[in-house]
Symmetry: C2
Subunit: 184 residues, 2 copies
């Protein structure tokens, strides 16, 4: 990529990234998020599993709730207990977290293989690299990318936002848990 | 995901993510990286395009070089000028940066469509969402993920690290720039 057409490089407001980093760029917030992805829901669980101070945990959980990443609700099994559960917005952080982590693992010197391993539930095989996909599901490397002024997009792409789901393509999973276009 | 098998939640050292955040979690480092992806190579270009102070730019470029993200070399067209170019390690940050950005763009209130747009060079259509892929290229949602102890992986997955490239599958691009398994 690169070349003649460029993003407005001074402007971070339209970029979206600073918001994402604000949410998970802080050490403890990230550790709480990771624990949530691992199935922890209760204050006392976070407290004992993370080795975090009570006041810091309370503060970071509050921020994650304020940012719409976690929902704070009474536990259905015991209404006196509070549960923290990832929202859709929270779950949507997973590709970014995993991409950052895969990058770190690839380049950390002397890195040893993690245990347990993140797998897909169907085949129980380790997941592959987080990838950039084309509108039709092709995997793209950086050499395959470019920038185009919105006015010069092909007409079917003009109303489409980068990263938007494209119904009926390989770009997402349908309800059956299979890729929407699975035949090869 | 979630459930019985969990990562060691207190331990960040095996996670890989802190290293990634260290490299791009800082505002100016991130802006320099983004400018590099947009094709900027020279100190004076970064200086004028980013609106960054000379001493901060110098410091952040130095850090990115020290971290192996940028290479610092004489410009082949003018040996007195220095060029900063992304290394393979630097280019490998792109899925993570794009995933973070797509997340921010999806959830920033009142966000307006970016211009220019990141496209694939073949069809010039906006790229799709950054996705987690299975070993065989299926797109995975968070409900499709799980944790498995390394000892309990199927035998063909035992030696494989999460995020590793899987030759001969849809998981990467071959030299022709087409997905390795392209037929559908």
């Amino acid at each position: 990529m690169g070349g003649v057409v460029r993003e407005p490089l001074k402007d971070l407001s339209a970029c979206g990234l600073p918001e994402a980093l604000e949410v998970m760029g802080e050490r403890w917030s990230f550790m709480i998020l990771r624990a949530s992805f691992n199935g922890l829901h209760h204050f006392e669980e976070f407290l004992s599993e993370l080795g975090i101070a009570r006041n810091i945990l309370s503060n970071r959980l509050g921020r994650l709730v304020d940012n719409g990443i976690l929902d704070r609700e009474p536990d259905p099994d015991d209404r006196r207990r509070i549960e923290y559960r990832l929202t859709e917005k929270g779950f949507d952080l997973l590709p970014a977290m995993l991409a950052l982590r895969q990058w770190g693992q690839k380049y950390v010197e002397g890195f040893v293989a993690t245990d347990p391993v993140l797998v897909d539930q169907r085949d129980r095989m380790p997941v592959g690299p987080v990838c950039i996909l084309a509108h039709d599901g092709r995997v793209l490397a950086h050499e395959n990318l470019g920038m185009v002024a919105r006015a010069n997009l092909p007409s079917k792409g003009k109303d489409r936002q980068e990263g938007e789901l494209v119904p009926g393509t390989r770009g997402w999973i349908d309800d059956s848990g299979e890729a929407a276009v699975a035949a090869e």
